[in-house]
Symmetry: C2
Subunit: 334 residues, 2 copies
């Protein structure tokens, strides 16, 4: 059916190796180059990447494992990575593990069997054993957004601690002392970091920590809604709240509406991640944003360096700063 390299060789009278060399950017005499290109054109030849993959033991496929594609932050990161990867000739094989550890392990197994060249993941597990095994079997791993213990791989993070700290500081500077926080799943890296940033800000301002000001929203919309309700009910004096991711921000806003709370008069609010959502709220929300494009760029970069340049250096972690987009959701109390 489809033309092969042999057909091109026969058609041009050249040898297999010459055609192969041409296809891989090797030097070929001008007149042969023309011959080959004519033949390719004529026979609609396309190199069979599968055969090539078998021979070279490289598929030029990067596996991507994420907790939820249905999460704007992740989907944007994926879209960006896919773009860059394809520009480098790499295909993207996507696995959504639905925030499920078992599914994540299955995805790793699946991608390993598919012989992907590397795996980029926003991991769900706490322990990185499966990823570690994968990496030890020769498939480089890059994690994004979260760092795993027991997994010695390149890692691209945003500085959630500092970003959160400076966001909470804004609230403090506006005169707030009773600041609630809606956190995500307890054992996730970013949750811990963001909580630390929150503590940093409180400690520095010498505001006492108060556990009743912390509610867990599990990174879900419903969780965010519940958490907001819990915070409001438990803390009459609370004047501001900081929400640690997009989904929970949506949930919190749903609940804010449900309860008829007026922002910022009754409650100041800082959310996370999604500029469009923030702008669509009344009043516009102030949010901490993450440099999505840079995250994607750095992650792909790490991967390609190991793959293309055969980089063997020890794993390193890249930390990117967050940004802040001001809205009208912070009330100045002073």
């Amino acid at each position: 059916m489809a033309a092969t390299i042999k057909d091109i060789a026969k058609r041009t009278g050249l040898g297999l190796a010459t055609i192969s060399s041409y296809l891989n950017g090797g030097n070929v005499r001008e007149k042969n180059r023309i011959l080959i290109e004519e033949a390719i054109e004529e026979l609609h030849f396309e190199v069979n990447e599968i055969a090539r993959g078998l021979k070279t033991n490289r598929t030029k496929i990067i596996g991507i494992i994420i907790p939820e594609l249905n999460n704007p932050f992740f989907s944007e990161v994926v879209a960006e990575m896919e773009d860059i990867l394809r520009n480098h000739g790499y295909a993207t094989m996507l696995c959504d593990c639905r925030t499920d550890e078992k599914r994540e392990a299955e995805a790793i197994e699946f991608l390993k069997k598919r012989r992907v060249d590397g795996v980029i993941s926003v991991p769900v597990t706490r322990e990185g054993t499966y990823f570690q095994e994968l990496q030890e079997s020769g498939i480089p791993v890059v994690t994004v957004d979260r760092k795993l213990e027991g997994l010695d791989c390149d890692c691209v993070l945003v500085d959630n601690r500092v970003g959160t700290k400076s966001a909470v500081e804004r609230l403090i500077q506006a005169g707030h002392r009773n600041i609630g926080i809606i956190t995500g799943k307890n054992d996730v890296y970013t949750t811990k970091e963001r909580l630390l940033g929150y503590y940093d800000a409180l400690d520095e301002a010498e505001i006492e920590r108060d556990d009743s000001m912390i509610a867990n929203g599990q990174f879900t919309i419903q969780g965010g809604a519940n958490a907001l309700k819990e915070l409001v009910e438990k803390n009459e004096k609370m004047t501001a709240v900081y929400v640690c991711n997009y989904e929970m921000m949506v949930g919190a806003m749903i609940e804010v509406n449900e309860l008829g709370i007026r922002i910022p008069i009754q409650l100041s609010f800082i959310g996370f991640d999604n500029i469009e959502f923030a702008k669509a709220c009344v009043p516009r929300l102030s949010i901490v944003t993450q440099p999505i494009k840079d995250i994607a760029k750095e992650a792909v970069n790490c991967m390609l360096e190991r793959l293309e340049d055969g980089k063997q250096t020890p794993a390193h972690t890249i930390s990117l700063p967050t940004d802040f987009m001001g809205g009208e959701s912070i009330q100045a109390l002073n």
Copy 2:
């Protein structure tokens, strides 16, 4: 490095063909089965899908081409399809073409070279020539959400016309006569269908069509914002607006806030697609929703029927009904 089928053969004393047969579900004597399974365990054998693909000429990869992953409707469809596909042993190769015809063509070419078994796409182009070529070269194509002229392939749609008609009818029944609509890109299939549904409703209620009530939001947030502004400025009498997709709904809400318009008192509003967003708005928006899981299921089904059962029947189109989620964004004028 990794064990091959030959290693298993050697280890068990059996022949290559027997191992292969076992791996593909063929019959093997009980004692040999045990032998083989032991060897596989021991040597950590995993079949090399690449080699298999070369031999069988099937990659068990489905290519997916969508306009924007960064669009909840598409990303949810993709997530759902990926889930089902992987359960059937198929991998998902993702291409985001950023709503760009040229990139779409590149993606088709890319996936063809990668020898995917089939392509599922939400197409961007008007003419399906590239997809048609792909299909004629033996790679089945299924389009989702949009139907292309000149492309004879299976197609999964939602009945946008009827869905839109009945949504607009709700507005009419609430007493509205001056109903604006924010449409998407002109040449996209869904745009036309939704506009037809809008006309259907108006015609049936004997409301005169008025071009100044139609604004094009280009399916983007900014476009939606601009369109809403345009509609409001041009039509003082407009009491309701119907917005044809999620992005434009977000944009429209941003602009609603910008202009200080109060919903539903000053303007009734029906949006599209995203339940969470609708619930997070004040007041909660009424929206038309699409049966995302069914869409994904049907699309994958169409593909697998052709791939697995070798179905050769002529292309057929599946049409799914929309649903409606009521909020508090419609003011009764009567």
